[in-house]
Symmetry: C2
Subunit: 456 residues, 2 copies
């Protein structure tokens, strides 16, 4: 994992020192000697991480950070603030203006590399997700980019793993009542514990009795369910080499003892913010993807989805020599409903119809709205007898109970259906649909409210 | 980066040895002593990587690999084959049955860790992409899962970077004519070279004269454009520590000198396959996302997209005190086109209309199909005069040239439009649309083929 790092400091010596260290680890380095220059470079280049000194003349680091985070073009770039003094108040202020992490001068090599590496990894993952989310909704670009700031970080679910109950309870007091905190003193139960509750951050003490803390971390990391769950280590000076190893394993952050209350709160908040932001992006992508295949009104799959699915399923049925049934349904006299009662009532009939249809087919069946008042159901591994059972169940579910359309009494609705089976390897989707359509036409001509099987 | 690794070997000592090594590096380890057992575990568990011995009684490693890769449930799990003898033919056979990488016994520690780490990283990235692709099209699950196998690996674009022209040319002869290969003997030009051509793999010799090969790699890795471009190092025994470092930087693979022709060809093929597969997945996700916001027939944005966009843009215009115009267009007498010539002709008119509309609006404008023969254009930062210019340009583009609908002579089509401006912060999307609609109605009543501005 490498990255393009921008070093911002008004003192040339500091810049050169950091540059040499980062270049030795094969980071690509850009430099800026003032806040305005840094902002300009961020706007122009693909900067992955900003290493930002706080004390600069004219525009200080806090202001630079605030501006970077306020602009949709740059607010996704992680900012690592370098505070001259080990002032907790500086850290808090840095986090208030949106800094992602901080280091104190003199900059410790291991801390520097660990923080930069961790941010580089974060950036890579977020970039991939952002790219997806943006593709779907260019409209929402500014929304999405701004989201990270707007993410609420309160009410988190935190787990503290420490064999020393007294230590764990102290950590807990630092985090409540902002978050709800559980304590686990048996590290062996970690996997059991994290799979049982919706934790958003896990704090792992390095000083576990008779248990390797990194083993706990790797167990959490390899569970499908908790693969992205943020982990923060609580370490002593002597744990340094192991912390470096832990960051390689994908641990998200660490804090050194003695644990400073504000720093801990800030680090937990940052992890919760990132976790919730990533979740939002994933959901945004998933929603857009779902929209592409769903009919807005009824929530059933749409025609596009059906056609692609029919193609795939038919090839599969043919190559495996299995049956497959297709049913086309058309609500009887639906035009009259629209003409008499208006589109509003028509729409509510369609919705109710879709609900009953969905409940009447089997789990393996695929129910779609084909368009207007026409629906299709695809039934894999289904012979004529089974298809008949499904079709009749649907017909009855519609006809035997009136539709509540808001009037004094229910409206009576019926449906006609045409069903056909995949019969030979030469059947194409079009041939299949044509046969079902002909059967539907016969059902209509014979008086509606019935199921007709293709007699071919 | 950690992972869940399944070790498959019929000799308990071998299993224990590998298990101890991997556990020491915090991998979670599962074990199997036979092929069938391994397949069962892969079907049941979230296995990330399979470490597979070739020589086993009953079912050998080749057969296990073939079966894992043939099943859609398991074919995305990377398989690392362990061949007992350093037989090039075994490697080739392993790759033929779909193995992702191979090691030779006795297993070298550095090679083992390097290969496992690299596959773990690959798995993580692919999982994320697959999850997205599958959400959109559950239909295409089997498609997507099978795709990796079906990816064509021929005709790749390969770049060899080596200051020793003679070495580079030999490497080249190993890869042509299967791929097209360029040679670069000036590593300083690497960035320039890779941004200028669509390379799919870069081979970097570690023995560069006066140039750090890892610097070349990190430069390629940090360019936005080539961030995912596969890199294979060509290393000597003495380069081992640096190879480990390179893998940390995200280099994809390495091969030791003396370079064995079949192994090189196989490794290049594997990287090309992965690269093309990831590209396919990304495109599949992007296509689905695009579908969600696009009208099938015309390719314009759809109503859903428009409504979301209108909402966002209106808030923005109001908060910044800027103008914004909305235009609703309705093709005149379109019903008659459908009734007289059929839907087929109607559709081709809609398509041609959409094309002319798209060409007549400005780059910043958003043209959407609202439904049927109704279209909308959203014009940000636009005053009445500018909106009028756009609207008139559209009207003329439709009216002044006949539509070719396949008949003897062109069909003459006109459009009516209603335009309104965002006027106050109390305007809602619904109010805006209503005003534009009223203006459109007046355009129709006044004789059609004209633009009417809301007079409010």
């Amino acid at each position: 994992m490498t990255a393009r790092v921008l070093i911002v400091d008004d003192i040339p010596t500091n810049v050169r020192l950091l540059e040499a260290r980062l270049a030795a680890e094969y980071y690509e380095v850009l430099t800026a000697s003032s806040g305005p220059q840094a902002i300009e470079i961020c706007n122009r280049n693909d900067v992955d991480i900003v290493l930002l000194d706080v004390m600069m003349p004219d525009m200080d680091g806090f202001e630079v950070c605030r501006r970077l985070k306020a602009s949709p073009r740059t607010n996704h770039i992680p900012v690592l603030m370098i505070t001259a003094l080990d002032q907790p108040s500086d850290k808090v202020r840095g986090l208030e203006v949106g800094a992602d992490d901080f280091l104190t001068k003199p900059v410790d090599d291991m801390q520097l590399m660990a923080r930069v590496k961790s941010l580089a990894r974060l950036k890579t993952l977020t970039d991939e997700l952002r790219a997806r989310a943006l593709t779907g909704q260019q409209i929402a670009i500014e929304d999405a980019l701004r989201a990270m700031d707007n993410v609420d970080t309160g009410g988190g679910h935190v787990l503290v793993i420490d064999t020393d109950a007294r230590h764990a309870e102290r950590i807990k007091t630092y985090l409540v009542p902002e978050h709800s905190v559980d304590v686990l003193v048996q590290p062996a139960d970690a996997v059991f514990q994290v799979t049982g509750a919706p934790y958003e951050v896990v704090l792992v003490a390095m000083a576990l009795e008779n248990f390797d803390p990194l083993r706990v971390c790797s167990q959490i990391r390899t569970l499908e369910h908790t693969r992205t769950l943020p982990i923060i280590l609580i370490a002593d000076e002597t744990d340094r080499p192991k912390v470096v190893r832990a960051l390689d394993l994908g641990i998200n952050d660490f804090i050194m003892r003695p644990v400073e209350r504000n720093e801990l709160a800030a680090r937990v908040r940052t992890q919760i913010r990132r976790q919730r932001y990533a979740l939002e992006l994933r959901q945004s992508v998933n929603n857009t993807m779902a929209m592409a295949v769903t009919d807005d009104l009824t929530g059933l799959y749409n025609r596009r989805y059906f056609e692609r699915h029919l193609h795939v399923m038919l090839s599969k049925a043919q190559s495996q020599g299995r049956d497959m049934a297709v049913m086309i349904l058309d609500i009887d006299h639906f035009k009259a409903v629209n003409d008499t009662y208006g589109h509003h009532v028509g729409d509510s009939v369609l919705k109710e119809f879709a609900q009953r249809l969905r409940r009447s087919v089997r789990g393996v069946d695929l129910a779609c709205r084909f368009g207007g008042e026409e629906f299709v159901v695809l039934m894999p591994d289904t012979d004529m007898g089974q298809a008949e059972a499904v079709a009749e169940r649907v017909r009855r579910a519609i006809a035997e109970q009136g539709f509540d359309v808001g009037g004094d009494r229910p409206m009576w609705v019926t449906v006609s259906a045409g069903v056909t089976l995949n019969e030979s390897v030469s059947d194409t989707p079009a041939v299949l649909m044509k046969r079902a359509d002909v059967a539907l036409y016969r059902a209509k001509r014979q008086g509606r409210n019935q199921v007709v099987f293709d007699a071919a």
